[in-house]
């Protein structure tokens, strides 16, 4: 029997020690009327070679686009994952271990996560972070809950174009949180009025102002330092959701005065994997350390004087505080966090900044070429971009025709915005990374132009 090492002989001996005659007898504590009478209706078992063939055939029912022919972003981005990352993350000692309750035999994992925390703090310019949240959307919820607990206020103000799925997740969690979630709307060109924000803040009771950088449409909201000041003037916290590689080009959230930085860590060495597992990161200032949810790894001294690492500040967590805990998170994304750390070690300081700049340069090059074509406009004019932008494909229904024609040519030409915002039915969101070289972009743009003409 697969994965069960005991033999019939072993089982006989063990049953004798227990003092029962059969395996069924071991289940005598289950009342008869609750015992299943029939065998479960599941497909017949497969041997390993059959299973592999079966899995491969299911996989081949998908159409996968290699990273450089894929311009979809909107939360999950295609970056190159160095071979060394994939190799190291498959060490059995890491991935077959549990949450490191027993520090003495978990120093490897604990140190790896301590290093992950150090990386996240370095990137965000913050003092403290946790060992991971489920993904970027739940990290945002975690931040909102922190802001609620820190300020004891109950209003949350969302600036335009925070990831719409993250907003949905926040609304779902809000069934239990009872916060007032308010939106500031964008005008025609994607901008919002800072006076309107101030007006809302003046109402008081605001726990946090939430913004995303770059926002879902790929551009920098205008006047970020001003927004942060304004929020602080009214004693609200600022939560900033960031795309990790933008941090190679902008001042860190810490330096900007942000209170809580969150984001989706997937771009840092994690495959897109049909959207999971992902990696939520959340980082904050030292003074808010004890408001963070989930596992936190800290340095500790052993009896023999050695320096090591333990799960620390556990008094915040569900297994100690039960119903008084501020989050129920237990299992997190530890292995994904380690994968991210290995990735950051692999690309290093130099590589990280190169990738950041390549994202910018490739996106700007593509933007120039695409927006010059007849039939395409930027959805929003004159925006400062990082690696993603929104286009408007003129003519009703044209976006679908063009999208499909490019699919046929083997491109995944971004993400259609109508899926997220009914008012942007003709919108297309395209993302660029270091994988999209000039040659590839030229080829893509040639195809795009041809498709537009037909």
């Amino acid at each position: 029997m697969p994965y069960i090492p005991n033999t019939d002989e072993d089982r006989r001996e063990m049953l004798a020690v227990i003092g029962v005659k059969s395996l069924e007898e071991l289940f005598a504590t289950i009342p008869d009327e609750l015992k299943l009478k029939d065998e479960l209706n599941l497909p017949a078992p497969m041997v390993e070679s059959e299973l592999y063939a079966h899995m491969k055939s299911i996989a081949m029912e998908n159409v996968s686009f290699s990273g450089n022919r894929n311009f979809a972003g909107a939360g999950v981005y295609l970056h190159y994952i160095p071979a060394v990352v994939k190799e190291l993350v498959r060490r059995g000692e890491f991935y077959t271990s549990y949450t490191p309750y027993q520090a003495e035999v978990s120093q490897g994992l604990l140190q790896a996560i301590f290093e992950y925390q150090s990386y996240i703090c370095a990137l965000t310019g913050m003092d403290a972070t946790n060992a991971s949240s489920y993904d970027g959307s739940t990290a945002l919820v975690d931040a909102v809950v922190m802001a609620k607990n820190i300020t004891r206020n109950s209003r949350i103000i969302l600036l335009p174009f925070v990831h719409p799925q993250a907003v949905e997740v926040l609304q779902t969690y809000n069934i239990g949180l009872h916060l007032k979630i308010e939106n500031i709307d964008a005008d025609e060109n994607g901008d919002f009025s800072i006076d309107e924000l101030e007006g809302q803040l003046r109402g008081g009771d605001v726990a946090a102002v939430v913004l995303q950088v770059p926002n879902f449409m790929g551009f920098y909201p205008e006047g970020i330092p001003k927004i942060i000041n304004l929020a602080h003037n009214y004693s609200a916290l600022v939560i900033m959701s960031v795309y990790p590689f933008v941090l190679g080009s902008i001042k860190s959230p810490g330096e900007l005065g942000v209170d809580i930085a969150v984001g989706e860590g997937q771009p840092m060495g994690i495959p897109s994997g049909f959207g999971g597992p992902l990696l939520g990161f959340i980082a904050t200032k030292e003074s808010y350390l004890r408001y963070l949810p989930g596992r936190i790894i800290g340095r500790a001294k052993a009896l023999n004087g050695r320096v090591g690492y333990v799960m620390t500040l556990q008094a915040r967590e569900q297994h100690i505080r039960r119903e008084k805990a501020t989050s129920s998170i237990c299992t997190n994304q530890a292995l994904v966090a380690i994968q991210c750390a290995i990735y950051l070690g692999a690309v290093g300081k130099d590589g990280f900044h190169k990738i950041s700049r390549l994202c910018e340069e490739n996106a700007h090059y593509a933007y120039q070429k695409l927006t010059q074509m007849d039939g395409i406009n930027p959805l929003f004019q004159k925006k400062a971009l990082f690696n993603e932008f929104a286009l408007e494909i003129q003519g009703t229904g044209n976006v679908d025709a063009i999208y499909n024609a490019l699919l046929v040519r083997g491109w995944l030409p971004g993400v259609k915005l109508g899926k997220f915002y009914p008012k942007y039915q003709n919108g297309l969101l395209l993302a660029f990374t270091e994988l999209h070289s000039k040659a590839i972009i030229d080829e893509f743009c040639d195809d795009f132009e041809e498709v537009l003409r037909n």
Binding site: P43, L289, R295, G298, G345, A346, E434
Partner: protein, 486 residues
Amino acid sequence: MKLIFEKSKKGAGRLNVADFSGSTLPSPFVPKDLRREEPIPLPEVSEVELVRHYLKLSQENYGVDSGFYPLGSCTMKYNPKINEEVASIREFTELHPLQPEFTTQGALRLMWELAQYLKEISGMDEVSLQPAAGAQGELTGMLVSQAYFREKGEERPIMLVPDSAHGTNPASASVSGFKVKEVKSDNRGLVTVQAIREVVESLGEDKIAGIMLTNPNTLGIFEKEISAVSKYLHGIGALLYYDGANLNPLLAYARPADMGFDIVHFNLHKTFSTPHGGGGPGAGPIGVTKSLAPFLPSPILRKGENGKFEFFSPEKSIGRMKFFYGNFLILVRAYAYIRTLGAAGLKRVAENAVLNANYIQERLKEAYVIPYYQRCMHEFVLSCKKYKVNYGITARDIAKKLLDNGVHAPTIYFPLIVEEAMMIEPTETESKERLDEFCELMLSFSKAIETDPEEFRKIRNLKSYGFDEVDAARNPVVKWSPEEDN
């Protein structure tokens, strides 16, 4: 061991990424008021040093691949390698979640089929694969309950949780807006209708939203009265939530739906062998009965008339619990596991998990006290209290001694209703030889403690032990700082 940051050497890290224009910071594309001037202080290490660093770290870690891991409640079974292999097939790993559905039919088929299997295994009517972990599954189930009662126009603010429950249960109930009330276990460690009725009657029948139970409970004992409990609670209009952490011993033997549960979560990283990953990622799908299905998170899958799979949003959905559709690559592993074992294999899993636990329990029951001794399911809880009282040796001391002897310790100090608790779950993937080694060790400890407790306390093999957790929490250092290098 030195941190990766302390191994950094200027110019050592040279990743081969395509070259760019060569310009350095600040970036010309960034608005002036945001421009970064200085690079981020990331380390620079060569590839070979990176490999050695993580190899060394992995060697300082203990997983199921290293040895016996009887951590109760966590189901640390072997993680089959073929599952890792199939989860790394490129046509799975490289899928973008926002590709058009006709290009992801394989992924959707896999998820849809997995949902069918989980329905069959639990007896539930509909399944959502979205939750990322058990606790998020619990939270999802609680929010579904909130939405269900809101729809019915009933205000039921209270969720019942037994005193033996996992900590996530009260936390999830509370985060989702319920008030938590505890129900006491009886002297057999069981939840009874009588105990529930007492709590219910003191609070008001119409105030009770439901109860969260795991069955077998955290003592590893099957809740015999479960049918009567569900009949009573359904009678007052409340719901029953099944915490799936302990599903392993029931596979193909009994189903939560038949016991009267309305909502169940599965821990794919326990029952269905996907790796724990040092704390995650897991997957915590939930199953519900027909009346709760309209409230499941969005989106879920259906098979269209044309045989194509498609996502849709349930009619009265609570909304989304996370980005996209769930921890897909974990779902792939669980799917592969179920397809490998089939119905008969899953039944063998349950039988051998229960056999292994009872075997250890029988061998240790004289030397250690088992406060709720009876036929257990997949795990049992012993107490080290007599060693504490007579010799000053605690469950923690015994746990550390196990670590010192190369075995992972069981869960200690849980459930809270057993003093000096040690919760042992061997799982079905361990052989009799491993179980015997463990039993011999535990029995030798009992003798050693009685002979010379001071000698017993001595740690001989662990590199470091006895971390000062109080100081770590009082003066937290949670990241490396550049100043440390000077």
